[in-house]
């Protein structure tokens, strides 16, 4: 079995983004997706702190402390990029103008429920940021997440155990083992990595899986 690396997961998610899509990338793994957009394909990246047309991280010497992304890392804008205030940034999210939110997750349930904001760890104060706005508002929500936790517990579940970010919002999940669609008929496997069959994958998944008739091998270049 050849699980994808995190970079390969980001690459795989990037391939599905059509030209002209307005995309918000969550903090962490999803942020890496912008590195793997096929060249020549114009995608407009939205940042909750008031940017459309966000570009790559700045080159050394070109950093501007007033230009940051949602994760508070330094960023840039591309030609055509614009600035606006927080209220307009979230009007775009809540009003369904952002076509796609690619988010991280703790858990996704077979009905599309998403849990990605708190594990209720008593040692840390909770924080939600823009997670609920994105999950409830973006026209489509896709998730990037390792298929299981480090100790092997499944993250694709029948019901989420952690508090929900939004119910019924996730349409597609990219894991290190598979590409899964959340459909009214359940969780459908679109792609699996080499060396896995449905039985092996089901063992690592709490949600009931169905194999798409036209399923494919999940493959990514070395990155």
């Amino acid at each position: 079995m050849k699980p994808l690396s995190r970079r390969q997961m980001a690459w795989r998610a990037a391939q599905d983004i059509a030209e002209g899509t307005y995309v918000n990338l969550g903090i962490g793994l999803p942020t890496m997706v912008s590195d793997y957009i096929p060249s020549g394909r114009e995608i407009v990246f939205h940042s909750e702190n008031g940017i459309l047309g966000m570009g790559p991280a700045p080159k050394p010497g070109e950093e501007d402390k007033d230009l940051i992304n949602a994760g508070k890392g330094l960023t840039t804008i591309v030609p055509g990029g614009v600035f606006f205030h927080h209220n307009d940034a979230f009007l775009m999210i809540r009003g369904g103008h952002v076509d796609l939110a690619l988010l991280g997750a703790f858990e996704v349930a077979e009905n599309g429920d998403l849990a990605n904001w708190t594990t209720e760890d008593p040692d840390f104060p909770p924080g939600v940021g823009g997670a609920m706005d994105l999950a409830a508002g973006a026209r489509e929500v896709r998730v990037l997440v390792e298929h299981t936790t480090k100790d092997g517990r499944p993250r694709i579940r029948k019901r989420c155990g952690y508090p929900l970010t939004a119910p019924h919002c996730v349409k597609r999940v990219y894991t290190n083992l598979a590409v899964l669609d959340i459909t009214p008929e359940g969780v459908v496997v679109r792609e699996m990595v080499e060396g896995l069959d449905l039985g092996n994958l089901q063992e690592r998944t709490e949600a009931r899986l169905r194999l798409a008739n036209d399923w494919k091998r999940l493959e990514a270049p070395s990155l």
């Binding site: 030209e19 804008i77 055509g80 614009v82 600035f83 606006f84 307009d88 775009m92 009003g95 103008h97």
Partner: protein, 219 residues
Amino acid sequence: MINKVVDNLAEAVAGVTDGATVLCSGFGAVGEPVELLNALLETGARDLVCVSNNAGTGDEGLAGLIAAGRVRKIICSFPRTTDPHCFEAAYKAGKIELEIVPQGTLSERMRAGAAGVGGFYVKTAVGTKLAHGKEMREIDGELYVLEKPIKGDLALCRADRADRWGNLTYRKSARNFNPVMAMAATLTAVQVREVVRLGTLDPECVVTPGIFVDRVVVV
């Protein structure tokens, strides 16, 4: 390459269907996308619900649509502005339905439609006949009326400059309803004076980001 600039007015309004709700920008004739409205007339679309501050000036644009009997209903704050004879004739003949909405509430209802707000409470119109039949609510000892969002199937707007991503700037008071209407429709078409190269518009000064715009046509 993203390119929202279309070749002509017909392309800009293509696909509108009978019965559509059309947000028609402008304050009187200023900021009114006259040529786009004329193009809408040429599509033959009928039974339209038009949302606009006024109800047409002179014979062109929104006035022309009304004169041709294409507008089933108009939602506006003030139908009689400079030279409203097309609307007045249709109204007196009982050929057009009129819904009067206070101007700020009209604007805010469209913003709600744009912003994913399902309803909101304002004090405007409380205690007046324009609140009749609307749900009231007391909040912190004051009465408010519940207002519902307005979403357009199509918005027709007018701006000064655009780029191929649909970023827009306006000119003076011709800005008026354009930014809020551009946000509040499924399909937004904008007529502009000039299309400039991507990256030319100052990113601090773009008023309508291209995310709200679908088609741009130079007039």
